[in-house]
Every structure is written in structure tokens, then in C-alpha cells.
Amino acid sequence: MISDLVERAQRGDHEAFDALATAAYHRLYAIARRILRDGYAAEDAVQETLVGAWRNIRSLREPERFDAWLHRLLVRACDDEVRRSRRRPMVVPALMFDRPSPTDDIATLVDQDEIERAFLALSVEHRAVLVLTHYVGLPAPEVAAILGIPPGTVHSRLHYGARAMRDALMPPAVSFPTPEHGR
């Protein structure tokens, strides 16, 4: 069904693309919001993702990979969003927007601000690995395929992410490792 819609969209059928985009929107938004920690930035990233998907959908050679391809575009769009936000003269701090409130026992035990700071100190690629793994629940090979990185790099980024979280949760704070960039 999705493949049919993708193939129709590749032939320029905008209604088919609308159906695909509408079905994917909330999922993409939820992921982007968790990577960016900002609802408005997440909306922008998803919009950029969908525009890019429509524009380039004919380059998608395997329609059955549409969802994974969208995720890859989304991570790129989140990266772009972070770069853009750094150039904005005024930025609403992510901590001030749509900040999560403690909802369970674990959350009440930890300093949410510390997690947020540690998370935001990571690169978008590292955040994406954490979100795709721990929120979406994808296995490492699938995360690797989405991000275009070797599975080993996924494990490496998970390691750094976990270490960052541990550092955030365990006083006194140990010096935070510099995120590994690239491979």
C-alpha cells in the first residue's frame, strides 16, 4: 500500500504524497521534537523534511524504504534546524519551551535540567541515535541504515550518549566527553 502511494507520488500524484505525509506527520514530529527539544523547531524540521521528500521522491529507488528514507531526511532537517538556530539573533531557550514535567518515579529522582543539558550538548546525530533507539525502539542495524553509518558507530554513539546521561545523573559531574563526530 505504501509502496503504491510512493510510486504514485513519484509519478507526480500529490494526493498520494499527501496521504503519505499525513500518515507520517505525527511520528516525524514526535521524533523531531525529542531531538530538538523545541516544538516550533520540530514543526519546521518536519516541514522541511516533507518538502524535501516531495521534491526528491523520484530519487528514492526502493519505495518500500520510504519510511526509513523519511527518517534520514528528518535527521538532516533537524541538523539544519540546529545550525539555523545558532545563527538566529534571538533564540527561545529550548529549556523554556514545552519543557517536560516529571511524570514518574524515575523522573522525580533526577534533575530534568541536567538531562536536558547533557542531551542538548550532544550533536544532532548522537541525539538521533538515542531517540531512534530508546524512543522509537529501532535496533542498531536499522538505526545505522537510517543514518547512513556503520552499526558500530551506532553502538559508539549510544555509549557516549549513555555516558553523558550518567554524568548528568551522578554528582559530582565528571567531565563530559566530547561527542565523537563522523565515524
Binding site: 505525527h26 521534537r33 514543526e43 518538502v51 523520484r58 524515575i106 535496533p139 546521561m165
Partner: protein
């Protein structure tokens, strides 16, 4: 969900679970509306992206691509393409081991010399791609029709195991191939060990060259080892009345170590030193670059202080006509026009920079002028608009025009090659390095 590793994992997971899972309805509508405002790109098109499509900025840039559209693809087999290096020895027996993931050095887009194979004829382009754990071969960029899609894993030293998934082989049929890489990792050779799918080896076996473009939405070689290479899209003999189509090897060129192809499109190709390419981001150069650029079907423009770029139909679109025209432009300080022969084709070259008394800025921050634009015929421009090349500030260009013979439709064609640098000092040292590469151009 993966099992938690420790308390920090649990905390992170709990933290990630918080917050809204749904976007606002108006944001969905806005996003869908935004998709309706952009056209789709042809799948084989790789538009140039590094400069904004803004005519004022375009004219102010040293070398500007307004629009590069229709990219083309692959070619006929070209002899001696790629680095000459000695490949890593290929194992002669199949080691037994637990299948593992492909090593990073294989996780690239690979381009092969086009050739027909079972299930595909009239192959004009050939790529080997790895996505989602699967290797597949694609001919002619036909969407959704990759061939021999196979789950790929490593089962021993330099040995791949391919398990057919779809598109050409019976599901589950296994094959084994050894691989070897050139010293720089840009040339991959796949050799057959065994394959239960009789058709697959013809598609996979052979040489594959890494396409390492920084812009992952683009397709170009990226960093090169010393050797001779084809272009992937550049089509210098594309008739103005002809529609672009797949083309491989529009030119071949030879480089020493330390060079890269940073962009390759139907209308242009851009070669840089690796050191300069390293300074660029995925979106291309910042400021004025030092490099070699090939352009198709150049046309002279009428010079105006307002930076208009109307074609000057009085200037012959030949090497002599175009070079002489540039040498007489009042906006430019130009050298004498010199003869040159490239690949047996006669040409002319002239060095240019802005005249000291030229003050028009074309809306930018420093003096600038339009030099050349794309000649357009019955098929329209290659992109949405004809490309425009300008020069600004202290930039120095060697502009080489070469009469390269006739197009498929019988039109006499001229190609333009630019050697560019941001200032005189850089130009003086770079031009001697660049010209042997320019002289190596072979036009298909």
C-alpha cells in the same frame, strides 16, 4: 524497545517518553501546503546547491551557477579509468566465519562501467548501492527497479556473502564474492567465488569506483587517487536542441594525487585540490574557490553596468569569437588571446580579471560583472534558467574555449574551461598546476 542498560538508560527513556507525540493540525496543513509550492526533481537530476538562486548574489559570485539541472549519467566503457594502484590481494578460498556487517570502507555509493547484464539491456549507467543492509545494482537510475537486491554480510577476510532478497534472483539464493580495494579505497574490485544465482555475477563482478561527493544529495567522485576518470554527468556536446539524458564519460581527465571532483552535472563539472575540497562543507565553497570548472555551450553576454545578462548574438559561439569578445570587454583587464589544443581540438585562452575602473557591484559588496551564460536552443536551458558565470573582486580566471566538434544533431559545439582563483598570487601558483589537467581532457 531495547532492554535498559542501566539507570541512566531508563531515565533517558522515561524522559524521552514525556512530551507531546502529535503535531498541531495547522502545522500539518502548513507543511502539506509547502510541498505544493515546490516542483519535483527528476530522479536523475542533481541540481547544484552551493550558491543561492538569487540573481544579484549570482552575479557577485566569482563563478556562479544559477541553475544546473538535468544531470546525466554513465557511459561506455572507458579504458584505464581510475587509480592505477595495486589492489589488496584477493583470498582464493572461502573462509568460514559468522556473518558480520560490511566494513565502513565498503559503505559507499559505487559507480561501475556500464554494461548489459541479465534482466537489463541498454545499460547507460550502473551503480552499486548499500542500503539497509542490502546491496543492489541499479541501471539507468530507474526508480524502484534495482537489480539483484541481496542481504550482504562479511563471512571472512575480504569475502562477502550475498543472500538474494528480490529483483533478479530466487529469494534466498546465496553467492560469495571477494573484494579488493585500491590503496586509497576509491576503487573496489568484486570477484566471484561462487553463486547459486547464475545471473547475479554479471552485474556485480568487476571494478567499482567510489562516489564520495560531500553533498550526499549529489553524485560526484569526491576525493580521487591519481588516475584517469570519466565525468558522470557533464555533457559538453549536448546540443541546445537536445534533451539531456544519461551520459557517462562526457569527458575523461587525468589527475595526480591530491585532487577531487566536487561537482558534476550536465552543464558543469568542478575539480579542486583535495586540500581546497576539505575546506568546503556539503553545501559547497564559502567565498571564491580555487579550481577547474568545465561548462557547456557558452554564449557571450552584452556588457551593461546594470549586470544584465542578455546573450550577445553578434558574437560567434566559437573559441575564437568568445575569447576575442572577452578580451575586448571594458569591464575586464584581459591578456592577449592565445592558441591552445586540447584532445586534438583547437581552442583559445585568455586570462581575465576585473578592470580597476569597473565599479558596478551588481548589487553585491564588490565590483562584479557577468562573463558568460548558457546558450539555449530548442530544448531550453539545462536547468530552470540558463547558467550565468560572473567574476568579482580580485578573482582571476583563465578562460579556455575549445571547439570540440559537432553534437549528435550536427551543431558545432564549444566547451568552456575555467581555471579560477580568488587573487593574483593564488592564480599564479595554481594555474601551472591546473593546466596539465586541463590539457588531459578528452571529449567523448
Amino acid at each position: 524497545m531495547n532492554p535498559p542498560i542501566d539507570r541512566s538508560d531508563s531515565a533517558l527513556r522515561a524522559w524521552l517518553e514525556q512530551g507531546p507525540d502529535h503535531g498541531r493540525p495547522e502545522a500539518i496543513e502548513r507543511a502539506l501546503a509547502a510541498t505544493r509550492r515546490v516542483p519535483q526533481r527528476p530522479g536523475w537530476t542533481y541540481p547544484e546547491r552551493w550558491l543561492p538562486v538569487n540573481r544579484a548574489l549570482i552575479a557577485a559570485a566569482a563563478t556562479v551557477i544559477v541553475v544546473v539541472g538535468a544531470a546525466a549519467f554513465f557511459l561506455r566503457p572507458v579504458a584505464n579509468v581510475g587509480p592505477p594502484g595495486s589492489p589488496t590481494p584477493i583470498p582464493t578460498s572461502l573462509p568460514s566465519a559468522t556473518p558480520g556487517p560490511l566494513p565502513p570502507e565498503l559503505l559507499k555509493s559505487w559507480v561501475g562501467v556500464p554494461h548489459d547484464f541479465p534482466t537489463r539491456s541498454n545499460v547507460q549507467s550502473l551503480t552499486l548501492g548499500y542500503e539497509f543492509g542490502q546491496l543492489s545494482v541499479n541501471a539507468n537510475f530507474v526508480y524502484g527497479q534495482s537489480s539483484f537486491t541481496s542481504q550482504a554480510s562479511v563471512v571472512g577476510a575480504n569475502t562477502l556473502e550475498l543472500k538474494a532478497v528480490s529483483n533478479g534472483c530466487g529469494v534466498g539464493l546465496m553467492g560469495h564474492y571477494t573484494w579488493s580495494l585500491s590503496p586509497g579505497g576509491t576503487l573496489l574490485h568484486l570477484a566471484l567465488v561462487d553463486d547459486a544465482c547464475a545471473e547475479r555475477p554479471a552485474a556485480f563482478v568487476g571494478d567499482w569506483h567510489a562516489a564520495n561527493c560531500k553533498d550526499t544529495t549529489d553524485m560526484c567522485w569526491g576525493d580521487l587517487e591519481a588516475g584517469t576518470y570519466p565525468t558522470l554527468f557533464y555533457a559538453p556536446r549536448l546540443d541546445p536542441a537536445a534533451t539531456p539524458g544519461p551520459l557517462y564519460g562526457g569527458i575523461t581527465f587525468t589527475v595526480p594525487d591530491g585532487w577531487a571532483v566536487a561537482g558534476d552535472h550536465t552543464s558543469d563539472v568542478r575539480l579542486l585540490r583535495t586540500s581546497d575540497y576539505a575546506k568546503e562543507g556539503p553545501s559547497g565553497p564559502v567565498g571564491q574557490s580555487t579550481g577547474i570548472e568545465g561548462w557547456i555551450r557558452p554564449a557571450a553576454v552584452m556588457e551593461t553596468p546594470m549586470c544584465a545578462d542578455a546573450a550577445d548574438s553578434k558574437v560567434e559561439r566559437t573559441a575564437s569569437g568568445l575569447a576575442t569578445s572577452l578580451s575586448k570587454r571594458s569591464a575586464l583587464a584581459a591578456s592577449a588571446v592565445h592558441d591552445i589544443t586540447i584532445d586534438g581540438h583547437a581552442g583559445k585562452w585568455v586570462d581575465v580579471h576585473l578592470a580597476t575602473d569597473w565599479t558596478s557591484t551588481c548589487g553585491g559588496s564588490e565590483p562584479a560583472v557577468v562573463l558568460i551564460k548558457e546558450a539555449v536552443g530548442g530544448a531550453g536551458s539545462v536547468g530552470d534558467d540558463p547558467y550565468v558565470v560572473g567574476i568579482s573582486g580580485q578573482s582571476r580566471f583563465r578562460v579556455v574555449f575549445v571547439d570540440i566538434g559537432k553534437s549528435d544533431l550536427g551543431t558545432s559545439m564549444t566547451a568552456m574551461i575555467l581555471v579560477t582563483a580568488p587573487d593574483q598570487t593564488t592564480f599564479d601558483s595554481f594555474v601551472n598546476e591546473a593546466m596539465p589537467i586541463v590539457q588531459s581532457f578528452h571529449f567523448k
